[in-house]
Every structure is written in structure tokens, then in C-alpha cells.
Symmetry: C2
Subunit: 194 residues, 2 copies
DNA sequence: CTGATATTAGTACCAAGTGCTAATACTGGA
DNA sequence: TCCAGTATTAGCACTTGGTACTAATATCAG
């Protein structure tokens, strides 16, 4: 049985977002409605026609040929944080994070999650990693969710240091342990003129 | 005065390369020839029509929109490698690798370069990092080129282990030192059924 | 001046639409 | 049950940026 207008329009939006190259005709076939209905839907949702959509995608790429995104600000999603104390982040391992050969996550992704969490938990203008010791205990595979828990275990205000321990687990099993010696830059004294 | 056919076709190719979004009509105006001439030129040069050109640009970007995020197979460019012995890679620090606040490179990029170099130097089907110790000695800024040198310093064939030391420098100054205990997986014995 | 090459013109057609009008279907409430 | 209002479908003219093809002119070289 057919979906309601609302459901269809939601699905339509999703469908086009996922594949901007789809024509009204294909959509009408997918949703078992007439092409006109699809057009009306697009109007209401103010989704431009195929050619415009494609053009936008193309222009976008043409523009940013420069930037080619790096790893994001924080790797993983921080779901809990108590500054200067502890923090937790989640990282979903996707196919692009693993070795093709055996689907095992590359070490630097686990490190990136842990390290950026260690940086985030510091209650400072900026924190830099000085030293770190890592143990990769268990292979993590694509599709798994890594939970990283960071804990500030020690501080040395005179030397502007803090020590953070990060334990990452998958389904309660520890897969990675890292300790980080962080250099904190709280003082704005030597800030730039900006 | 008008250009010869050859000149025009050269200019046309360049023109379209520079701006794939130009229509035949615009081109015909640019070169002071008829639209048909432009079409004939495109035929001879086998340059596809506007929409196809745009679509290709769009598809390209759409493709790498998916994969762009992961760090690539090897971070940095390997310029010299002696399997099981040593390897060297270059990594140019770009704006996207640094903290916005102070332009200092994020630790995980240095780690990623070093770690992937350590993996690469292993003469094995696959190598995984087991443990590692890192020192971030000096801040690296955007625009600098990091030279990472990996050296296999020890081996323990019975335990399938190897030890790799990576020293990264910028202008001869050491910025990062990492030691990696690697687990090697040479034996195909326990391979999956794939 | 002739023949080949180059250019222009014009027609029919296509895809993937927009914009508009009109008919039909469906659905909820008095 | 009927009626109003919303939803859906249909149909037609028109638009862009072309393709495919034919035919008429220009232009130039020997």
C-alpha cells in the first residue's frame, strides 16, 4: 500500500540526497506515483531539478579542488565531557578506516580518536601532545564502534603538564590503551596580536 | 581577424578545460563563429556536450566525497624504501592539518605518517602496530615539510615481531620520534576463505 | 577555375525538465 | 451520505542545450 504524502516526501528528500543523479521518472517509478506528483513534491520541498542539482555538485567540487578534507577537528563524537577530568567519545569504524586486506582498523585512527579526546579534555586554550605510549591490544574491524574514555590522571601546573590516560573498548573489550603527556597553553601572555 | 581552424580548436580545448560549464553558444560568441562550427569542433576533438562534462565533474566529486575522509593508504609520499630495512616519506603540512588557533600540526598526522611508514617498511603481507612510544619534540607548522625516516631496529621472528624506529625532521631539526612494535602476518595459513 | 575543405543554416528530434490548466480520486467531517 | 478540500494524475506548450543529418555557401590552394 502507498505511503502518505508526508512519508513519500521524506523518502524523496532522502533519496535525492543520497543520489542526486536520479530523474523524476525514476523517482516516480520508485514511489509508484506519477511524474507530476514527484514534480509537485519537489516544488513543495523546493528541490531543484536534476540538472541544477548536478551542476551544484559539480560547482562545489570544482571550487574546493583545493581543500580535500583532512581528518576532522575531533575524531569521533564526544558524548560526555568534564573538563580537566574525563571525557568519552564514540568512533564508528567504517570501511575507509581499515586495511582492505583484512578489514582491521588502521592504528592511526584509533590514535587520532584517543589523541583528539585527550586534547579536548584539557581545559585550556590549547593543548599539545608531548609524549605518548600506546598499546594496540586487539584488532578492531569495520562496523565496530569504539568507545574511548579519557581520564586526566595527573597534573603538574608548574611545568604546564597534564597526564591523560585513554582506554578504548569495543563491546567492553579493551582494544587500545594510550597515555598522553600533554603540554597546556593556558596563559594568553604570549598570544599573537590577533 | 579570425584564427585558423587549428588555432581555434586549441583555444577551444583550453577554454573548455578551464571552464567546463561553458555552452556552445557562449563559445561561438567568444570565437566569432557559428554554433555549428563549435559543434563540429567538439566532434573532431571528441569533447562531450556541456551536460556530460558537468556530470563527469559531479560524479568525480561525488565519488571522492565518500572516500576523502579517511586518511589515505599511506600518509605522506614514500620516496625511498628498502623492505625490512628502512624507508623515507615526505609529508607536506597543509592548513587542514593544523589547529586553527596556532597553526601547529595535530599530533595524529605526525603519528599517521610515522605509523604508516612503519607498516610500509615491513616486508609482509600485513603488519599491525602492537605498541608504540611517541615523543613530539617540536611544533610543526603549516607549510613545513616533514621528512620521516623509518629504520627496522630489531626482529623477533619466533614471536612475529619487529621493532621500527621513526624519526621525523623538519629542516634537519627532529620534531618527532616514535618507536613501534609491529606484529607481522606473513603466514597465509589462517587466511579467510575469500 | 575547379575541387577540397571549412563554415553556416536549417530541420527534426531528444531529455529532463517548467508552467499552467483541468480532470479525477480520496478522505474527513457535518 | 454528500460535500469540500486536498492529493493525484493528465495533457499541452514551451525551454535548454544539445544530437543527427542535409544542404547551401565561403574560402583557399593548385
Amino acid at each position: 500500500m502507498k505511503k502518505t504524502k508526508k512519508e513519500r516526501q521524506l523518502a524523496l528528500t532522502a533519496s535525492i540526497k543520497e543520489n542526486p543523479f536520479v530523474t523524476d521518472e525514476e523517482l516516480s517509478a520508485n514511489f509508484n506515483v506519477s511524474v507530476q506528483t514527484i514534480r509537485l513534491d519537489r516544488m513543495e520541498l523546493s528541490i531543484p531539478e536534476l540538472r541544477e542539482r548536478i551542476k551544484h555538485v559539480a560547482v562545489k567540487t570544482f571550487d574546493d579542488e583545493v581543500k580535500s578534507l583532512p581528518i576532522d577537528e575531533v575524531i569521533g563524537e564526544i558524548i560526555d565531557i568534564e573538563l580537566d577530568e574525563k571525557a568519552i567519545s564514540l568512533f564508528d569504524v567504517k570501511p575507509e578506516h581499515v586495511f582492505q586486506r583484512n578489514q582491521i582498523a588502521r592504528g592511526h585512527h584509533l590514535f587520532a580518536q584517543a589523541n583528539s579526546l585527550a586534547v579536548a579534555v584539557m581545559n585550556d586554550e590549547l593543548a599539545l601532545t608531548v609524549k605518548s605510549e600506546l598499546q594496540f591490544l586487539r584488532a578492531v574491524k569495520a562496523g565496530q564502534r569504539v568507545v574511548a574514555k579519557a581520564q586526566v590522571i595527573d597534573r603538574n601546573p608548574e611545568k604546564n603538564r597534564a597526564y591523560v590516560k585513554v582506554v578504548s573498548t569495543v563491546d567492553q573489550a579493551t582494544v587500545f590503551i594510550g597515555t598522553f603527556e600533554m603540554y597546556r597553553m593556558t596563559e594568553q601572555s604570549e598570544g599573537d596580536g590577533n
